[in-house]
Symmetry: C2
Subunit: 272 residues, 2 copies
């Protein structure tokens, strides 16, 4: 399995060319499943996202991903792209999964939009985009994949649903700020792996993706015990890891926390 | 605020004496709220726990905690003790909170029992104990406290309920194994702090609490950004931190993830 780390920007043809090359590198080295970062094909302000958004039917990035998956015979989790949907005012932040014949296997629209303030910089993802409404687990390459995007990682309830629906691998394409990345990226990704006893494949944007806004990078692959199997340095690159299914099974057998949930107790009592 | 780290064992009078001394140290240094570790008054096998279990009405450790809280004028989160309840076959792992006049403020019975296998060693907490059935948040010393115990930390759904019910501080008295502690203790505690934007006070057992079974220790205080404000070395001791309420409020204002949950979306869709 591989994660591609990129420094995407506002020039879509350049982004596509760079992504194509690193997906090819990953596939030629033997990866059967490759994950791209969030908004790998275009990063920009609200207006730039509106003008570069694509439909599933005709989008050039959508067709490119389908083609790369088929060309290399891999499963491609296409990070996310900004999607335009018929009859909708707002856009979606959408993760598409393609199978080894180029077929669309599943899609997930980001549920939690990044409307925050970090170090005085304001982010309003909801200005141009609307939230998705459904968690998604799909089958690909013999594994159950749970899909998520970036800011979702702060919401453990989403990953719990993915695990209970059978996810063995969770993908987290991302575009984290440097500040939140430094303090929260690895700890939240490892916690999701540990508490849900699944592999985590987190492919990130790195460096200056917009003027004066640097992205944290450090794409990461964690195993179901929370061990970091691979982590990217601070540049566009590919990271790899072999995922051992028997390790997942052994962890879930010996420390059966997923089976030990107590849903009837997840409500509040009164103080004594 | 302070966390007391202990190496408790099967000798209850010794455990009480050591706890009394460290609680006094914490209070004399100015702590207004002190947290003890899990099973601070007695650690042993199922038979030893049965013979040392206490009722809330007559237990010597219960009375001792009430007395210490009143003597020092502090809030005391009494880690946990093994509780015997009228008419029940099995015991409970119970966290008691006492106010500065020695009054019982709240109690929480551990929901998730430690029935696991680690490095070939089998733990069956349910052999002698039964799980609690309710999450608990209480008011103490001007703060809202969410209560939890040890293995609970693997279950993010519990901490989410505590946060949604207003918890600003979560207490995690614990008795972690060395192996799980090394790989999971800090990452899970920091994740609970970050995702729920609350302080975490985690008081641990350290060292050889039972023959050939070593406890991880590293008692820890984290702030709502996940920063580790204090961590204990590998010996019985006290750790302190000043908790800054305005930091919690600023984090929740600028990065309002608690307010951005999307409960309607926490269900699964079908693959495309």
């Amino acid at each position: 399995m591989a994660c591609v780390q990129l420094t995407s920007g506002r020039d879509k043809p350049v982004n596509l060319e760079r992504a194509e090359r690193l997906v090819a590198d990953a596939a030629l080295a033997g990866a059967k499943l490759v994950v791209l970062p969030e908004k790998w094909n275009l990063i920009g302000d609200a207006d730039e996202l509106r003008s570069g958004a694509e439909t599933l039917e005709q989008g050039e990035s959508v067709q490119a991903m389908s083609g790369w998956a088929a060309q290399h015979g891999i499963t491609l989790v296409g990070g996310s792209i900004t999607e335009r949907r018929e009859g909708r005012q707002k856009l979606s932040n959408t993760s598409l999964v393609f199978g080894p014949e180029g077929e669309l296997v599943a899609l997930y629209r980001k549920i939690h939009l990044f409307d925050v303030e970090v170090d005085g910089l304001v982010y309003r993802e909801s200005e141009a985009e609307e939230p998705g409404e459904e968690a998604v687990v799909c089958r690909a390459g013999g594994w159950s994949l749970g899909l998520s995007i970036c800011y979702d990682v702060r919401f453990p309830e989403l990953y719990r649903i993915l695990a209970l629906e059978g996810a063995q691998i969770v993908t987290v394409p991302a575009h984290f700020t440097e500040r939140t990345g430094r303090d929260h990226w690895e700890v939240l990704l490892r916690a999701r792996a540990i508490e849900n006893q699944c592999f985590v494949l987190a492919a990130a944007q790195v460096g200056e993706t917009r003027p004066d806004r640097r992205s944290y990078g450090r794409s990461l692959i964690a195993d179901p015990w929370g061990v970091v199997l691979a982590q990217a340095p601070d540049e566009p690159t590919v990271i790899w890891a072999d995922l051992d299914r028997s390790r997942l099974e052994e962890i879930r057998r010996s420390l059966p926390s997923l089976a030990s949930r107590q849903p009837h107790a997840y409500r509040r009592s009164s103080p004594a």
